[in-house]
Amino acid sequence: MKPNYFSIPYVGWMALFVVTPIVMVFVFALTTPTGEFTLRNFSDMGLFLPVFIRSFRLAFLATVVCIVLGYPVAYLLARETTRVQRILFMLIMLPLWMNFLLRTYAWMSILENTGLLNQLLSFLSLPTVRIINTETAVVIGMVYNFLPFMILPIYSVIVKIDKNLIEAAHDLGANTFSVFRKLIAPLSIPGILSGVTMVFVPAVSAFVITQLLGGGMVFLLGDLIEMQFLGTAHNPNVGSAISIVMMLIVIVFVIVMNKFGSGEEKAVGL
């Protein structure tokens, strides 16, 4: 291969700001605060098992909600005319153009006990709900922030399905529902898989959402790690070990997903 000199800045950047921190994390994880080698940081990991379970459970929940909400949107979007698609796309992407913190603060004021939602409910003489500072609020925040990353990959797979295939299925006796169940759904699996990866991975490590919408009551991996580095617990060595374990779980998850999906990818000619 010819050396590509244009890639030097990028390689340099990566080496300095990506590889170095990872190496440092590994070094921290394998040492005590005084700098001696140890495996204790890992062997104590069992203490945090509830946090791991809660993080993965909520991330899983948020991912499922994203599929349930995102798939129909992607499906309907793919059937619209190009003009309508462009407008709807902008609406879907619009929140992403706003600052992440700002968006999440907005949700705070919606979900608060005296927030917009409850004001609306009491206006309609309905019982008010207590959502803020619960797991529900955190999941809502995750779904809101990550939903576009579910819609887009599913959309791009569905829109590429050959119209002839749909006609052929109708021709062979499939009604609209059968066409969906036997053709469109199986062919959109690769899109769902990449959407799942794109939602699940950031959801597992989410931490600002949990603090703003969970009010510290919903303690997740992101918070745990942050606490080890910046917070009261201050133990970067344990924090590094937690990061590594989380990273490994996510890597295994992504590999399994890709294995699972590779059989489907040729189907849509990706």
Binding site: A168, H170, D171, L172, G173, V268, G269
Partner: protein
């Protein structure tokens, strides 16, 4: 060849206000092989899609077995389609592709049993010569094999009518010929009505019981291949089906037509006295004789060797004729021609008169034809015979 199965009555279709079908009246008989033939944009595929239920005519009616089916969706019609690009389901293997329709069928509210599905699929694979292919990935099959899977997938449902939309378009020359025979054989073996769309006149002549020639959204002629070739109704049909010299003539009386100021005897009649007509003379119906002995005299202006015979262009009074001959006449030679009465076909003047038939630009046309064949990307078809066993 028996009763009428499908009828299109005064069917019109338009896209964005542009008419692509104009008041088509057409019926299809049971068990026949009918071809809709015409250049691209003539309305043949639109007609097929109306029968398949993918398009609703903006006016007119479609009848199936006497029942109006305008509002019946495709999945409820006893009609199956073979699409130009096969449209095989990429996530299913060969067996599952063919079984797709059967799995959806209900007989008296009951599904077809697994064993019956399996029997019928295997039987179909046998018919299309793909025995042992059931577990194969359809995306890895050659063009010809994919085509046969598409045929099996449609026929396994035992439709009354099979619609074929240029199904051989993506195959190379040799495979096309093979598949033409195969399709004809399958049609005769199954007794299913085939409605076949193509722009390839040779294909139409070789396979059809009936040919419908279309142009500008209108039917130009309906007939057997022999009728269409021998007795074209107008200059368009004459030009589109085979090579033709189309000249202006004047009908003097039944059996006598004047071309280039000379009277020729012919077999047609029923025209008014001195009625201007179009005269079709096929290149193979012209006999070359000594220049002094001919009914007309002309000069050879170009020669193309085509294997069995030569195409020569001969200039008569400034009008260039195409003549096919087995003997070589050099460029510049003066020759005479004779035409037997049964080689002269008289047609009424039509809107197509004067548009075709002069071979002045023959070499251009010839190049266009060969270019067109180059543009055509034949699908690779490696028949792996060892896999068949």
């Amino acid at each position: 060849m028996s009763k009428e199965l499908i009828r299109l009555s005064k069917c019109s279709m338009a896209f964005d206000g542009e008419y692509v079908l104009k008041d088509i009246d057409l019926y299809f008989k049971d068990k026949e092989f009918l071809t809709l033939l015409g250049p691209s944009g003539c309305g043949k595929t639109t007609t097929l899609r109306i029968i398949g239920g993918f398009l609703k005519p903006i006016s007119g009616d479609v009848y199936f077995d006497g029942v109006r089916i305008n509002d019946v969706p495709p999945h409820k019609r006893a009609v199956n389609t073979i699409f130009q690009k096969y449209a095989l389901f990429p996530h299913l293997n060969v067996f599952e592709n063919i079984a797709f329709g059967l799995k959806l069928q209900r007989q008296n509210g009951k599904k077809i049993s697994k064993t019956e599905i399996s029997e019928r699929v295997l039987e179909m694979l046998d018919i299309v010569s793909l025995k042992g292919f059931e577990k194969r990935d359809v995306t890895l099959l050659s063009g010809g094999q994919q085509q046969r899977v598409a045929i099996a997938r449609a026929l396994v449902n035992r439709p009354k009518v099979l619609l074929l939309d240029e199904p051989l378009g993506a195959l190379d020359m040799r495979l096309r010929k093979d598949m033409q025979n195969e399709l004809k054989r399958i049609q005769q073996a199954t007794g299913i009505t085939f409605i076949y769309v193509t722009h390839d006149q040779e294909e139409a002549l070789a396979m059809s019981d009936t040919i419908v020639v279309m142009e500008n959204g209108e039917i130009q002629q309906i007939g057997t291949p022999e009728d269409i070739y021998n007795e074209p109704k107008n200059a368009f049909v004459a030009d589109f089906i085979g090579e033709s010299n189309i000249l202006d003539g004047i009908m003097h009386q039944d059996g006598v037509v004047e071309i280039f100021g000379r009277k020729f005897s012919c077999l047609d009649g029923g025209f008014a006295k001195l009625e201007p007509v179009d005269v079709v003379i096929r290149p193979e119906d012209i006999d070359i004789v000594d220049s002094s002995a001919g009914m007309l005299r002309g000069t050879v202006t170009s020669i193309t060797f085509r294997g069995v015979l030569y195409d020569i262009i001969v200039d008569f009074h400034g009008f260039k004729w195409l003549i096919q001959t087995t003997e070589l006449y050099p460029v510049g030679a003066d020759i005479g021609i004779n035409i037997d009465p049964d080689g002269i076909h008289i047609m009424k003047k039509s809107s197509f008169s004067g548009m075709f038939g002069d071979y002045s630009s023959f070499s251009d046309e010839y190049e266009n034809i060969s270019d067109a064949e180059f543009e055509f990307e034949p699908m690779e078809d490696v028949e792996r015979t060892e896999d068949r066993g």
